[in-house]
Symmetry: C2
Subunit: 213 residues, 2 copies
């Protein structure tokens, strides 16, 4: 059965999943990379983006689990890149270089039409202009029996949560303060939406919690 | 030097430090006791409120540290009790029975005058009607060289944080969802106030973080 999940999503002590002022230099906003301090040393991250080494353990188990059985992704426009408004041209191809770490279809929410972008390693970015429900329908179709992962950013996760469309959320609560940024859960009543904390494991770097229905 | 601290303060994944609808049956609001699941088994809690047994370890270390070197406490009206408005009589003496666990002067913020209340074990409740600054001045005078602990609830901690009067905050991030309640940090820019996360230790029950300037 296709499940819709959020995974490996960092959140600061003060509830932010990105810092303020996202830019080319600060894809996660100012201070936002501290949310991912648990992820960077993992095997899963290092094999996708680094030198191929990396650490095993609790953090890596969660990182790997986030990629397991995923048949399609959905990303918000800002998670795809810093470009705002109509696409000036096709030069922006995401933050991840020629071979993005997805290896499945990725649906990007945007208000501005753009042709699909075929990347190396079986990642295709498809741009969806008809809203979150259409994007989810398309992603589910692409995923088949596998899961759909909502990749972020915070605004996109919030929209899918509020619409009651998410089955499982894995958050990595990071021991860091951002002060400002994008609050992930503010104003969302997860209890009313049917979520419970069904799992929690702490590593040296983060408290991992799984919220599910 | 007298420091002003918040300690052993529980916070849920969704940022609440109390559930909704506080009452005699639910002193921490509906669901709020789950924030304290880390505290109840500790030696520190059991020796004050239970059978004198209890567990040592990370959680107990933090619970004990919260009481160390404290010369005075400040409590909000709702932390003292469920009575609202003018005191109908002197029958409400706090949630804690004849011998409260403070053993030092405790300053209770209220809009309604009331005579001091002397309890067993050196706890005296003093009712302060002139606001948070006056209460802190009085508490510092009473504490001498020892620290002042802001006991809560969430609204009182928020007021002292926003006024820039707190030196250290220990939060126990609990793997629980409340959905609604009193958000502890929403709208408070702790980074701008000068706080950093200076310590974090995880136990089976909680991620303990210390924020200080």
């Amino acid at each position: 059965m296709c499940r819709v999940k959020v995974a490996s999503f960092g959140m600061s002590i003060d509830g932010f999943s990105a810092g303020p002022r996202q830019s080319l230099e600060d894809p996660l906003g100012v201070g936002g990379t501290s949310l991912m301090a648990w992820l960077f040393p993992t095997q899963t991250f290092q094999q996708a983006h680094g030198d191929g080494g990396g650490e095993s353990g609790i953090d890596d188990d969660f990182a790997a689990r986030g990629f397991a059985n995923v048949g399609a992704w959905i990303l918000g426009r800002n998670m795809f890149g810093p470009v705002r408004g109509p696409w000036p041209d096709d030069s922006w191809k995401g933050w991840w270089g020629e071979e993005p770490p997805y290896h499945v279809p990725v649906f990007v929410l945007t208000h501005h039409r753009r042709e699909p972008l075929v990347m190396q390693g079986d990642t295709t970015f498809r741009f969806v202009t008809d809203g979150i429900h259409d994007a989810l329908d398309a992603a589910k179709k692409a995923a088949g029996n596998r899961d759909v992962r909502i990749g972020g950013g915070a605004g996109t996760v919030r929209q899918y949560l509020q619409a009651g469309l998410v089955d499982e959320v894995h958050l990595a609560l990071s021991p860091t303060l951002l002060g400002q940024g994008e609050a992930l859960l503010a104003g969302i009543d997860l209890t009313a939406l049917g979520f419970k904390c069904t799992e929690h494991v702490t590593s040296r770097h983060a408290m991992h919690v799984v919220l599910s229905k």
